[in-house]
Symmetry: C2
Subunit: 257 residues, 2 copies
């Protein structure tokens, strides 16, 4: 971490600092993803992941709309509006959230149950809501910067698709359509956001705020996997009221401990 008294970075130095945060803190380094991508999770654990991540997916357009509502520039609003369209689609059954629900169905979750948010880990809700509040309350520069985890997304998405298709018989190409689409959407979105941030983060203070925003967002993603790991892997302490996977062999709620 740079001392607060150092001089401002040039554009390529700032971009490198942003990428360095990703190398240290992005959730591709989390052990839950290793298990997920290497086929080391049971169906109930994959269900818990899909169910909880649904809350993230459904909240993203609210986050993006909050950002648009704060932008004075028609260009920024216009470009960011594409994200709303990507997630919500142009009609029912289309868009990223609908594709995520298809993935949930493919792993054996009832669509209505997923949408009800019943059984969501409280920690998922707290982390995701923190992201929405961050974008509502921090500076617009920080709000845009917090989206830059997408710099690191293409690698993890490609790994995930390869790994999940290879290892889980309940995961099909069709179920992976969400990620397939994100492989083209995320780089397009992040090119614009990165350029926008590098252009405007000129002072040391602005640059620190941008780096902190990206650290914050990495924490939001990481905390979601910590909570899944704690509840459904090791030690398997499912919090009161949270989703309890069925044990496939007995059809009874599975206890991880």
């Amino acid at each position: 971490m740079r001392a607060k008294t150092s001089a401002a970075l040039n554009r390529s130095e700032l971009e490198e600092e942003l990428r360095a945060i990703g190398r240290r803190r992005y959730h591709d380094r989390h052990p839950f993803h290793e298990l997920l991508h290497n086929g080391q999770l049971g169906r109930g654990q994959v269900q818990a992941w899909a169910l909880n991540r649904f809350y993230y997916q459904r909240s993203i357009p609210k986050k993006d709309a909050a950002l648009i509502s704060r932008a004075d520039s028609a260009e920024l609003r216009r470009v960011w509006r594409q994200r709303l369209a990507d997630h919500d689609g142009d009609e029912p059954g289309h868009g990223g959230i609908a594709r995520w629900l298809n993935l949930c169905a493919a792993v054996g979750l009832e669509r209505r149950k997923v949408e009800s948010l019943d059984g969501l880990l409280p920690a998922t809700r707290f982390a995701v809501d923190a992201y929405v509040h961050f974008v509502r309350e921090k500076s617009l520069l920080e709000a845009v910067a917090s989206s830059l985890t997408e710099l690191f997304a293409p690698d993890i998405i490609a790994d995930r698709m390869r790994g999940m298709l290879a290892h889980y018989d309940f995961v099909s190409n069709e179920a992976m359509a969400y990620f397939d689409r994100r492989l083209t959407e995320a780089p397009r979105d992040v090119d614009f956001a990165l350029e926008w941030v590098l252009e405007r983060a000129e002072t040391v203070e602005q640059q620190e705020s941008v780096l902190d925003a990206l650290r914050f967002k990495c924490d939001v993603l990481w905390a979601q996997l910590d909570a899944l790991y704690h509840a459904y892997v090791d030690p398997g302490h499912i919090p009161p009221g949270a989703f309890a996977p069925q044990d496939e062999s007995t059809d009874r709620p599975r206890r991880y401990r």
Copy 2:
């Protein structure tokens, strides 16, 4: 859980439903507290608990001020103002937050480091901020109801004081002054809040919202212990940037895994 169509409860039934939530979901049932109270944690783990819980302590007056700022009744504002005084004191070095910092010092943490929030678990911040946002954004009835976890506090506080004093040589009576004070403050606060809620939660909808508010608050407390357990007990995955206790035997950062 009651069906949404059932009739409204009378006062004593509603109180019983509230108490039943505590019996199932209050964090005295969490395994981290069992370890803490039975002397099964090392000093570094107790430090992690004190450091993270500091963020909860320091946020409580902000939560209480948010509630006061929404109250139309001078009586509610007046009674609730006592909580601000309890936490912030009448001069520097007094009040609950100062007492919590004394506890942190007693377990070997640097005061300035604790106050900097450096090393705080992101999940702690997300859970506590969710509580502050809840009180700002939900109905006043829900905001007051979310304080009712104090119904269940005296037992856990007494257990904790007894257990921690018996088991940890770095914990003194003086360090426990925070809890000692809460033994008289919490019951006084909660008597008023419970009465206020029982008086106003008349319809089924209001009663459901009150019960949900208490469940939410139990989740806020529980999630903080889940995060501590995950990072510092089992499997001991400390998230990037979070507090890493020193290993007492080597004076090097301790790795739990």
